[in-house]
Point group: C2
Chain length 156, copies 2
């Protein structure tokens, strides 16, 4: 399948997702060597899971299938520019490339304001609308110390 | 429980998570009216899920318990400053507040470099290390059009 055919398949999944009442108008594919190995659609409202964006659902499904927490060698096709949560997930999954179609401005016009979250993430915590408070920093070093000493720890 | 007691409970969960070999040195609690309603630890390597950070696991568990995709009225306690993926999830979950202990610099010293992802998210796509390509923008407007016309759609 060409890149355009892959993206049009993702668009079809996104339309079907809305029509079935499963969630928002978004779908993603995980592609390896030109073949689709997993897909995901937005399931936030039907699964009661605010993290069930199409990209996250597709990444989780591909990892489950491959039995690996890394997707090196794979690409993500997604109908819309990823939100910060999904972009973070893309980095942690070590995907090689992202191909997207609609932009964050298109999403904002449809009522999905990722732009707000992008702005919040890129300012210091003290300037965010979200209240953040730090306590007990010293006590929280203990998990790191135990981690460093743990034999057989699996880095990710 | 006081804020400090809640955080020390999260630290205990993070230490136990490492000792059990379930994943990285992180744990989170979802707290409502001063009581813990859900918890989560990092399960990335044991669940083969790169999105299974403590915050995401705790948010998903709390939503499952409450049968809601929003956690308004709840607070997140987490042993370390959230990475961009988790901070995005916190916004989407509509949590009231985040209380954290260790900083992203502490995490980086232990080998968890969220700072890299924060830098990547805050620059234009063309300046990122991650390859991103846009195609088929017009075709990808169709899911939004279907969404706007869909009766009974559930916004999130």
């Amino acid at each position: 399948m060409t890149q355009e055919e892959l993206m049009r398949e993702a668009v079809r999944l996104a339309v079907a997702n809305v029509q079935a009442g499963r969630g928002g108008p978004f779908a993603s594919l995980i592609v390896r060597n030109g073949a689709i190995i997993a897909s995901g659609t937005n399931l936030v409202t039907s699964a009661n899971d605010p993290t069930a964006h199409a990209e996250v659902v597709a990444i989780r499904e591909a990892c489950r299938m491959l039995g690996d927490f890394r997707l090196s060698g794979c690409e993500l096709y997604t109908t819309c520019e990823p939100c910060p949560m999904c972009l973070g997930a893309i980095y942690w999954a070590r995907l090689d490339r992202v191909v997207y179609a609609a932009t964050r401005d298109d999403a904002a016009r449809a009522g999905f304001d990722d732009g707000f979250i992008y702005r919040e993430l890129c300012v210091p915590a003290s300037e965010r609308a979200l209240l953040m408070k730090q306590i007990e920093r010293e006590a929280a070093q203990e998990p790191f110390r135990v981690w460093e000493m743990q034999e057989g720890r699996v880095r990710y």
